[in-house]
Symmetry: C2
Subunit: 319 residues, 2 copies
């Protein structure tokens, strides 16, 4: 009887396993019902689902959180619907300048790029910088020279262009607003079977930005952070205000110093950036698999899937 009970317990533990999972976002903004045709809405949800599946499949096989967040973000970089990689917004000069960052919560190693114009996968380059150089952040032509030396795929700047991105810039100009517009970003946070967290973020940046402008996404501690002892975070929103309030690290710091949970910390940090003037959103997860996806914009493309079977794909405030 004793042996049988022990067997049952072991079987139950094996079934539950160590929690793992992934949470992603495809940008926060005026994502409200009625804005999209049913076809476009469906395409967004399928895009999120595809990115989620790419990351989750890696975790399920026991792969590292770093691989999962890179795969999820890369999937959204390749999807023209999202403002990262193909589909990136245009700068005031009509060019694309891409930013990305990745961080490993187990070692606090990180890689980051900004001002990328010709590297097909900015998140892939950020990962290579983390793994193959003594540096964390590289920008512009220097970063692209390193990409070339590593055999990464280079593309013409127009590779990233979509009719929608061109139309967005034209629409903004028609309204003759010099005011910068918040724009989407994509990101992911994953927890693997070994209990390690990782985060990744990639973006085309703010629509109509001045060439050379860098937002929060590629800045470690601001748009991207991961520490197994606290949480992983990836942000989206009006970058300038996120920078000034150091959102991602502030969440980690609140958990470490105030002992509060990831959900409470994430809401508090996001509220600070929003009150300063910059609405947005973020996804975060702690090392036990607690997920939070707060936003102060009307909506946010977001999704998660956990090993306990829970999951969701949402874009509007309530769905």
């Amino acid at each position: 009887m004793r042996v049988f009970l022990a067997f049952l317990l072991a079987a139950a533990f094996a079934a539950a396993g160590t929690p793992f999972g992934i949470v992603i976002h495809g940008g926060a903004g005026t994502v409200v019902p009625g804005r999209f045709t049913p076809e476009v809405e469906k395409a967004y949800r399928e895009g999120l689902e595809k990115a989620l599946a790419a990351g989750y499949a890696i975790l399920e096989k026991g792969g590292p959180a770093l691989d999962a967040v890179e795969a999820a973000v890369r999937s959204m970089e390749e999807n023209p619907l999202f403002n990262a990689g193909v589909g990136a917004t245009l700068t005031r000069a009509g060019t694309h300048e891409l930013d990305a960052a990745i961080m490993d919560g187990a070692t606090l190693k990180a890689g980051s790029v900004a001002g990328i114009q010709h590297v097909k996968s900015p998140i892939g380059l950020a990962r290579l910088i983390m793994e193959k150089t003594p540096h964390v952040m590289m920008i512009g032509e220097g970063a692209e020279a390193f990409a070339r030396s590593q055999g990464l795929e280079l593309v013409p700047n127009t590779f990233f262009r979509t009719p929608k991105a061109v139309a967005d810039l034209e629409k903004l100009r028609e309204r003759e607003k010099a005011k910068p517009t918040t724009k989407d970003t994509v990101g992911a946070v994953a927890l693997d079977r070994n209990g390690h967290l990782a985060s990744a973020t990639s973006t085309g940046g703010m629509l109509d930005k001045l060439p050379g402008r860098v937002g929060d996404a590629p800045l470690i501690g601001v748009g991207t952070y991961a520490d197994d002892r606290t949480c992983g975070v990836s942000c989206t929103g009006w970058g300038e205000f996120f920078i000034r309030t150091v959102v991602a690290y502030d969440i980690s710091a609140q958990m470490a110093y105030l002992g509060i949970d990831v959900d409470k910390a994430a809401h508090a940090s996001l509220d600070k950036a929003t009150k300063l003037g910059g609405p947005g959103g973020l996804v975060a997860m702690d090392a036990k698999g607690h997920v939070t996806m707060p936003f102060t914009t009307p909506g946010m493309f977001r999704a998660f899937r956990l090993s306990d079977g829970t999951g969701a794909v949402r874009m509007y405030a309530d769905n």
Copy 2:
């Protein structure tokens, strides 16, 4: 009698006034007795004294902390002894790429540049980005195009070159070490008569860095941060490790969330970066004028002057 006592108290308060002052650094590293000739040591101390005086004079006249830190940092940018502006280290490609950041503790406004090759004063450009654009951080050619549009003085890249910087790179190559070397940075934190804090940092970055590499100096929350409610911070050291531990904001966060003082918080944050592998140093000050100048390298060029008459100019561990 009562009136006389009240008068005496008021007079005493007027004499003491609101505390104000400035603390600066000229980089942390192997600053040990015997390394420099007496003439060079004297020149370093005079350089620190000059930068300190430039900032303090502004504060004394009631000027803003922002002006004081900019003036102090600009003085060190113009001084070929320090690794910022003229005298900047060389990249692996034999060029100069300069980074800088400035932040206003009253408003949390910030400006930052990286990968600057032709703007005479990187800290001046960072300030303009803070004040004249909706952005916080700008890099490379985009940042320089903005500098041109603002009438800033542009110079050939060789303007920043000094015989010492060339010799340093040659010496490193002779030793055939691919390993990156920590290098100096300059920075300042000031508190003005209105109780506002500001921070500024400027650097040529790590000697022999890959072109495009960005260190901690220009990253808001990492090498530079200021918040009147907590403190102002400017860091120097092995940037990659400072980025991964978000040093400047971690000090502010510890003060805010743990309620500890600036000195204790600064030591704790610096120790984290050092334990991860990156020694360095920093200067920090709170809104009451408490100053701290910790470092985990053998020495650090540093100085401070406060309105209570205290002050010092030091470079070695004990002097």
